[in-house]
């Protein structure tokens, strides 16, 4: 007792600015929060949201057709232009492609994520993460050009089909109207394949994270109550993984809608929204139309998220 009595009840501050700040932050946690958030939040508000607002503003301007100059007056004329057949074509094409890519990514990602979340352990789990992440470490452009070579008429895919005497399959696929073409690298199928490849990790990771949070005994409980595997999937696993799928689809959907490089390198020469924006703000100099086109994906994503929420996609969160 007496030996302990010599040590003071409250140790003095070690002094110095750092120690005083530490004490201050401990007493006022809000101050710490503000200090930590000021810079990133400031960046977000001024640079990011600010530029988005400017973009929104620009989309309500229009261009004077005679002079080619932007008229800074509020008008809905530019939005009206979105509904001209050629622009509507671009929007519908992009929307269909994004939906197809998202669906394909979800279908491919689910079994992979399910395996990783429920069966892979230790070494296999590390291998899974490596396998999913590795493609993200190499340059996007390199990957896209690599696919151009793979899908080209003289490419390895054609060669494989020839060797397997399955050329007729490839020809049948390419002769499909609309999505076919002269070779895979100049068809919608090619664009679709590359989109799926490039965005797949963005679907796998959130789905895997969602499945990881599903306790194993819920699956056992479902079986115990009489549900076979299909019923357990439909009633337990899928609803609980849905927030992950929706999160992944936000990535795949919006990334596909905004991309302007893949459809330019691989695919038919018909435009997607990203390319249209690029063309309008560059060579055409039609900033208002470019801005209005940019607002389209934002609106679509908003509608999509609202619908997902209304349908209960986030109930399991």
């Amino acid at each position: 007792m007496s030996a302990q009595g010599t040590s003071p009840m409250v140790r003095p501050s070690t002094g110095g600015v750092a120690a005083r700040m530490a004490d201050r932050f401990w007493r006022q946690p809000k101050l710490l929060l503000v200090t930590l958030l000021a810079l990133p939040l400031g960046w977000l508000v001024f640079v990011y949201i600010g530029s988005l607002l400017v973009l929104l503003l620009q989309s309500f301007y229009s261009i004077d057709e005679m002079s080619g100059l932007v008229v800074p007056e509020f008008t809905l004329k530019t939005y009206g232009e979105l509904f001209t057949p050629s622009n509507l074509d671009i929007i519908v094409r992009t929307l269909l492609m994004s939906s197809a890519v998202t669906l394909a990514c979800a279908t491919i990602a689910f079994p992979i994520a399910y395996f990783a979340a429920r069966y892979a352990k230790g070494k296999w789990k590390a291998l899974f993460y490596l396998g999913v992440m590795l493609p993200l470490w190499s340059s996007y452009l390199v990957k896209v050009y690599a696919w151009k070579l793979i899908l080209a008429k003289e490419g390895i895919l054609t060669w494989i089909f020839t060797k397997l005497h399955l050329t007729f399959l490839l020809d049948a696929l390419l002769s499909t109207p609309v999505i076919g073409g002269n070779s895979l690298s100049v068809s919608y199928i090619g664009t679709f394949l590359v989109f799926v490849y490039v965005w797949l990790p963005f679907m796998i990771l959130p789905v895997q994270a969602a499945l990881e949070r599903v306790p194993g005994n819920l699956i056992e409980a479902s079986g115990d109550l009489g549900a076979n595997s299909r019923q357990t999937f439909r009633n337990v696993i899928f609803p609980l993984a849905l927030p992950g799928i929706v999160a992944g689809s936000i990535f795949t959907f919006s990334l596909t809608m905004g991309d302007y490089i893949i459809p330019q390198i691989i695919g038919s020469s018909r435009l997607f929204i990203g390319q249209a924006v690029y063309a309008q703000q560059g060579t055409a100099g039609n900033i208002p139309l470019a801005a209005a086109l940019t607002v389209v994906p934002v609106v679509i994503m908003g509608v999509y998220l609202y619908a997902a929420k209304r349908m209960g996609a986030f109930d399991a969160l």
Binding site: S222, G223, D224, L225, G226, D315
Partner: protein, 332 residues
């Protein structure tokens, strides 16, 4: 008597670990059967074998006379109340309870009616619209019970059903479970590591250790006539006397057990049986549990309230009826 569950030399090995090792077991229809043992003793694996979550490595399991090996859980008329309840977080309480009927294709209004009735049975009427996250631990437990019972299983398995509840609630649930079991007449098999719970609730208890059943019998048998040192120690924390000490008291060199409540402190050396030294005293209210040391061994006894409790370190004389000494089967 119909046999509800029968194990014939059942083993379940995980690699080199023998979780369940050559277990023979018969549980009668309508019985309230407890599987008691420390963690890792194989009791939960036995339960999972009955539910169908595990398949035996060898041996055979029969449920109401039908072979259970290779039969998936969803085709067994057996339901489980899981340790942490395993309620579906995305479904309402009513949909949770109706789940079993839903997957069996029972029409919606009929299954919701049955689920309402089941909720009323576990004293949660009108809770159907809530989500499991809005319930307390005790309420979730009741929902899990209703969810299992609504399927009218022939065998109900309960895996440490009361483990997560506080003492008061646990005692209340023990009573309710017992009443429910008697009124429904369903075979209840429950797993617990709490010997008090097993003894007070079950018609019959099987004590597990190292993947084997060490002893099975009525609570009175298991408590009063333990077969081995393990059972004596695990069920009711009996004093286990070494062969040397037993010989000193009874003249026979065998392992024996002695219930603490049969040991008291004698006033004088003449009325005592064994000389011991006080180690510690634990005040329990109506009694005080005293721990003493005799012949290098701990022996616990009981002092009634109002009696003086000697200081630690002082010499005491232990008194007990020599006939209360119960000989064990372990080899000396």
């Amino acid at each position: 008597m119909t046999i509800a569950v029968k194990f014939d030399a059942v083993s379940r090995h995980f690699g080199t670990v023998r979780a369940v090792d050559c277990v023979d077991l018969e549980i009668a229809e309508g019985e309230f059967f407890a599987m008691l043992g420390p963690s890792g003793s194989g009791k939960t694996t036995c339960l999972r074998l009955i539910a169908g979550f595990e398949q035996p490595t060898s041996g055979s399991i029969e449920i109401f006379g039908e072979r259970a090996e290779g039969v998936p859980p969803y085709r067994r008329s057996v339901n489980t109340v899981f340790q942490d309840y395993a309620l579906f977080p995305h479904l309402t309480v009513l949909d949770n309870v109706a789940y079993g009927l839903m997957v069996k294709g029972v029409e919606k209004s009929a299954r919701l009616k049955a689920a309402e009735d089941a909720l009323a049975m576990v004293k949660l009427p009108g809770f159907g619209a809530r989500k499991p996250s809005q319930l307390s631990g005790g309420q979730r437990q009741r929902v899990a019970l209703a969810r299992a019972l609504v399927n009218k299983p022939r065998v109900l398995l309960l895996d440490e059903p009361l483990g997560a509840l506080d003492l008061k609630l646990r005692e209340q649930m023990q009573e309710e479970l017992k009443t429910l079991q008697k009124s429904l007449g369903i075979t209840f098999i429950f797993v617990t590591h709490d010997q008090g719970e097993a003894l007070s609730m079950a018609d019959r208890v099987a004590v597990f250790n190292d993947g084997k059943i060490v002893q099975a019998g009525s609570p009175a048998e298991v408590y009063g006539k333990p077969r081995t040192r393990f059972v004596a120690d695990f069920v009711g924390s009996s004093n286990v006397l070494t062969p040397d000490l037993t010989a000193k008291v009874s003249g026979q060199r065998r392992w024996s057990s002695l219930r603490p409540e049969q040991v008291t402190l004698a006033a004088s050396k003449a009325s005592g049986v064994l000389e011991a030294r006080m180690v510690a005293a634990h005040y329990l209210g109506s009694t005080t549990r005293v721990v003493t040391e005799a012949g290098g061994q701990r022996i616990a006894g009981v002092v009634q309230a109002g009696q003086a409790v000697p200081e630690a370190g002082s010499l005491v004389h232990l008194a007990f009826d020599k006939a209360a000494l119960h000989f064990l089967e372990d080899q000396p």
